[in-house]
Symmetry: C2
Amino acid sequence: MRGNGRRPDPRVTGLTPEFVDEVRDALDLGQPERVRALVTPLGYADLADLLEPLDSRERAALIQAIHDTFDPTVLTELDDSVRLDVVEQFSTADLAAAIAKLESDDALYLIETLDDERRIAVMQAMPAAFRAILEQGLSYPESSAGRLMQRDVVAVPGFWTVGETIDFLRRSHGLPDDFYDLFVVDPAHRPAGTVPTSRVLRNPRETRIRDIMDDRGLSVPATMDQEQVADIFRRNDLVTIPVVDDAQRLIGAITVDDIVDVIDEEAEEDMLGLARTGERDIFASPLRTARRRQSWLLVTLVNTILASLVISRFEGAIAEIVALAILMPIVAAMGGNAGMQVVTVMVRALAARDLTGGGTWRVVGKEIVVGLMNGVVFATVMGTIATLWFGDWGLGAVLASAMMFNMVWAGLAGTVIPLTLNRFGVDPAVAAGPFLTTTTDVLGFFVFLGLASVFLL
Amino acid sequence: MRGNGRRPDPRVTGLTPEFVDEVRDALDLGQPERVRALVTPLGYADLADLLEPLDSRERAALIQAIHDTFDPTVLTELDDSVRLDVVEQFSTADLAAAIAKLESDDALYLIETLDDERRIAVMQAMPAAFRAILEQGLSYPESSAGRLMQRDVVAVPGFWTVGETIDFLRRSHGLPDDFYDLFVVDPAHRPAGTVPTSRVLRNPRETRIRDIMDDRGLSVPATMDQEQVADIFRRNDLVTIPVVDDAQRLIGAITVDDIVDVIDEEAEEDMLGLARTGERDIFASPLRTARRRQSWLLVTLVNTILASLVISRFEGAIAEIVALAILMPIVAAMGGNAGMQVVTVMVRALAARDLTGGGTWRVVGKEIVVGLMNGVVFATVMGTIATLWFGDWGLGAVLASAMMFNMVWAGLAGTVIPLTLNRFGVDPAVAAGPFLTTTTDVLGFFVFLGLASVFLL
């Protein structure tokens, strides 16, 4: 790594705790010049990382110190709660001017995160032309290609030569700063192909653009969901894709750096969904975090009350054989765990579209077989342990049978529940876990205590 | 979307089950020509998606039908078990020739997935120059920048003009097919900056390359872990980054499409880790899947046996008050669930390096407060329900106290366990869950049954 001397490069290593402490010291001692000296070399992602762990007062002091040179791109990198804090440090006019300096996709992203009142004020303070662009962007559905796209693209007709194209590019103003593909359009401004900039560089001036274009003709409508767009990037190893309106006309392009963010976001959603927590923002206030998690904890509470109701049906059996109470959590835990393994694999397969091409029933069958195999292994182990522990082979046999049943059930329910939810348009990452564990708890307790009542009493 | 007439475009929509069935029919009926007609329009990612749901016999027939036109890039997109199946359909010589046609990063990826014997045979069947490149690639650690990088890069001296650079590019052979950045190197071949190809296109022929380069001077050593490389791409919105050897000389470059795969992989690892399943391959055989999951199920079994041992200490209390057995799963489930919410948020924050810049202790404190808030809410609700259900306010109070305790504990353990594991270099995504639920189960049962023994007997 090329160092810059004294200090590890934060663009590579991230910020060190020591650096954050140093900035915090300077803020606390009221030394804005020292703050500026420390912060100026940081890139926008690092400045965002610095703002997040600070408290509100420190954030305000930091923004105060660097107000005039503040790069608004930082705002796009902040967690929601921190962004609100930072945005408050700017007047409407300053904020409007800062956002108008951004590329249209970043500006759109920022504008949509402001609360309604602030958004309207900021939009009104903007140059009319930029406001019109943002308003059109906001007209596309949330998380759609239209929201992600950059509107400034380079479009050329296919009959141009490489030479004409280079001359045009050298002459034109108002093109994006950097771009990686040129789009070839027909007379109706519909995309006909894509030309990587390197091909324009490498071919002789007299070559026709249409002869070096990639004519796979991929494009996406502005209304397509960003998750599907990300999938198209992955499947085709793209760097850019043109975005078209209803009439198939080129209106913008999406670049892969935005897709990296989408992929991160979607993976995070799946992961947090599986853990049943809607919270993605570690710096949000405790009250807000507590509230967001309550709905999922409530689901858990209802699940577990259902399980308790099942147990209460077998009060008599437990009073007679206390060992049942000791062993019953094992049946539920093993079924729940085996089931969540299956659910996770299914959620991932559905997200990666590994199951769109058929093979679904083979996977269901496979998971039942896996449940059977591991059911036999763990039921034998645990049945033996229980027999030795309580000196009662009947109890061991009942425990083993209930575990077998619950682990096979986990294979069936772990596949069928996510598939069914997905079929009905419900996100399986979020909903499959609670459904599954309710069934493995309720059935686990029911089968174990039920078999015990029949055979041991 | 530009359609291609009859059929939805699989590059955009993925394969339809109908299409897969059609191919399968043609394979079963032994109609290789129909198979070829169906499969030829597919891109490599689609062909990979088609191969995965087929069984071994169908895969062999499909490869047979398209053997001569098979694009080896398909192999890079397959799940491990399917790839082994497909690779077996090729002779060593054919496979060596196919791999030698790939870009060096893809070839390296494929070679390292072969078993030892096959790898040695295939390497020996390759042109010596290509073999040398692969051997050097294999000398870098697994999952390092050196394994990911493309070796063919465009490097130019900074004193060249745009015109000289374009002339050089038009003249040269053996450059990569498409590229998005040129690298500026000093006389010792060390990277000094990066020039997006679009800047070369847009500037007059007499402009010096060094005047239009991005001189942030970012580069990564070949030994850097891919996860850290991905993080640098994210933080700096890069499309390419140069890779350097120990002497800081430019030896290759990593492009963002490979980073998209790394990000997917890392997110998947975290997600599967949290679900305690090492399996990522839904098309692996049941026996293999069952085996891979056993280690995690064993961890669950040990956890839950520990919990059973705790319960067995309170046999007397349960025999006297069966309601304890009915209510005790609630304490464990709520603590475990609240704790896993915290663990997931922490795992994500650690993976995204949101916590490298300090603020750690604030987050621990916050989670304890969140645990306290939600503890109060749910303990009150469930304490009331238990009091009404069993007509015993003492039981309700004991249940509420145990729930409070366990949910505050979940906040503390849910933050401290991942942080501690991370400090000691253990992946918290995999290990934090089992640790956490063991504590919430064991402590949950212990506190609930213990309080009950003291106050209710």
